[in-house]
């Protein structure tokens, strides 16, 4: 009679493009009863207990995956069958239902899988020069009693041209596992300004491509980026649309005050991370970089290129719990 931890699980890693081998190594290193397979075709999706969407280029994965029936099969597995799924970076983008800063050159937009009702912003922090390493909260502890010191130590988060979740659907039972306060890069700031305009105009934004972020007029022989400066929080009423009632504005002001107070509290502990290529710091906001909703786990950072396998253990445990549940 196998104990829980001995129950074998088979996890597929989407291998259309990206750092899939790294995920395989980490999954197998984290758990000796876990085997992995590379998944490129619909046939290879059979018999899996879980699937990982690796880091890479979400545009490429979508184009390759929609050409051989993978995309519909993946949607069925993730959303229909609720197979445990972990998306890192590009994988997180694929699992989002709404995306800004998407590719503007692909016909009908980037192909996403969906499953998580979140709004993700691609390339939020900037180009490779703005990629960074930073301590992040560890994954939720697997042990039921006191957390061991090693388990609760910070996790080495590696953010490579990372996306960021701007907002989650309040009603959707999404657990937030990590956040950071950061200024978007100049191109992302322009994208976000365009997003705000669309929202104020009443549009329901599902996917929005990148927009022209260059300022070609200021100097004849130079090209620079458009400088986006946001108005300070206290002038919220100046941007409110006609639909916002006076009461709502009052409530918003109160919430902003709560938020500012909380921000004050954390000033000793947190500060805006300074990255090259950042836009004006008035654009800074809190963004989410790890979430879980039922069978779906997403991280904007890359545990698979570190030697710390705690997130991989966490996911294997997710898969095993689900597998045990299904067989009972």
């Amino acid at each position: 009679m196998l104990s829980f931890h001995e129950k074998k699980v088979k996890i597929g890693v989407l291998a259309l493009q990206g750092a899939f081998e790294e995920h395989q190594s980490c999954l197998e290193a984290s758990d000796k009863h876990c085997t992995t397979v590379q998944v490129r075709t619909v046939a290879e999706l059979e018999g899996l207990d879980g699937i990982v969407f690796p880091g890479g280029e979400s545009t490429a994965m979508g184009l390759i995956g929609t050409s051989n029936g993978m995309w519909d099969a993946l949607k069925e597995k993730v959303i229909g069958s609720k197979l445990p799924t972990w998306g890192t970076c590009a994988g997180m983008i694929l699992l989002a239902e709404r995306c800004v800063g998407a590719s503007a050159v692909i016909q009908d937009g980037q192909s996403l899988i969906g499953g998580l009702n979140v709004l993700v912003c691609r390339n939020y922090f900037g180009s490779q020069i703005s990629s960074f390493e930073m301590e992040t909260p560890p994954p939720p502890s697997l042990s039921s009693d006191n957390e061991a010191a090693e388990e609760s130590a910070p996790f080495p988060g590696v953010f490579i041209r990372a996306p960021a979740i701007l907002s989650v659907d309040q009603n959707d039972d999404i657990e937030i596992l990590g956040k950071v306060v950061a200024t978007p890069c100049r191109q992302a700031a322009v994208v976000l300004r365009e997003l705000e305009r669309k929202i104020e105009a009443g549009e329901n934004v599902v996917q929005m491509g990148v927009v022209d972020a260059l300022d070609r007029k200021s100097h004849p022989h130079q090209i620079g980026y458009i400088d986006v400066k946001k108005e300070p929080a206290t002038t919220i009423n100046s941007t409110a649309s006609e639909n916002v009632s006076a009461n709502r504005a009052e409530e918003e002001k109160k919430d902003v005050t709560i938020l500012e107070e909380e921000q004050q509290e954390q000033k000793q502990n947190t500060s805006n991370i300074q990255l090259p290529g950042a836009s004006d710091s008035t654009n800074a906001r809190e963004v989410i970089c790890a979430v879980r909703k039922q069978n779906i786990l997403c991280t904007a950072f890359h545990p698979e290129i570190t030697s710390d396998t705690r997130w991989h253990s966490y996911f294997v445990n997710m898969v095993r719990e689900d597998s045990v549940r299904r067989s009972n």
Partner: protein
Amino acid sequence: GRYAVPGNIVFQNTKDSQRNLVRKRAFSHTIIQEAEQLHHYQHSNKYRDKMTGTNGSNGNGAKIGTSTVKQGLAQMLKGGVIMDVMNVEQAKIAEAAGAVAVMALERIPADIRRDGGVARMSDPAMILEIKNAVTIPVMAKARIGHFVEAQILEACEIDYIDESEVLTMADEVNHIDKNAFNVPFVCGCRNLGEALRRIAEGCAMLRTKGEAGTGNIVEAVRHARTVQGEIRRLTTMSKDELYVAAKELRAPYELVKKVAETGKLPVVNFAAGGVATPADAAIMMQLGMDGVFVGSGIFKSENPAARAAAIVRATTHYKDPKVLMEVSTGLGPAMVGISDIKGDPVNFRDREGGEYSYEGRVPPKKHLHGATETQMYGSSWERN
């Protein structure tokens, strides 16, 4: 200076507002902690802190330019196709075809071969325009040894710099000190020794040199087989044989030891130089390369968009002959290319510099191949 999270971002139609962020804060896990801003990006060499090694666990803010971060982007490009583009329109075609990155340059290698003249770094305006138009990483080339071209490209916030033998060499002895930069570099190699020399200088990604601009895969195959074969040989050696192996490879002992132990290169290695068809891309993947660069092969062909998409799919399904057959069908003519590489006056692949074994003396008598070598080593030697 401190700031408040701007309150005027209200996603009204999705019910997400600041109030939701406040409520979501009440959960059991701590918010990502940062004690202080750690790294201030400065454009002056003097202030450029070099971050090396450790994997982010010293508790102080965000670190940029670490080797994990530099090599990390190359790992994310694996299994993908990086395409040479000369303008915004080509960059858009490349992204729409599934490229994982574009290499921005003013002239593709086939044109450099044909037209001659000094080949240099591109105009920053073209690079910024391409970065503005696509969402995938943008790379650009700098001349071998031209560290100021590299500084300029870093200031353009390019995602990767290719220290490229396709451009005219700026330093015939030294390569760029890539460790001094925060931006990562990709370099070419023909053999394991050259690969490790570039890694010692700080390159974060490798590629074969092949012979760029010829549409002829033979040199890329040669370089891939050489590197892979030399790695396999190293793994069969006993530990005490590695010292001489390092001397003969003309590479640092520590890197040689690491390769012998792990059986692979410490960084990602792509194919480059002469890839023109889906089959070319697949053979390089089957020879153990991690991904493919395609230069002249796409935009010098009859139907660039279709060929680009076909090469992307071939790189993913490189082990599946049925898919390879399908994507090779009906593509139209590939680039004509050059079949007699040894007879061609232009030789990109042998550009490395620092030929220490000759130490400024005239090289020993040898059989000369082609016009380049005759010119380099003089007509008083045996001529081919």
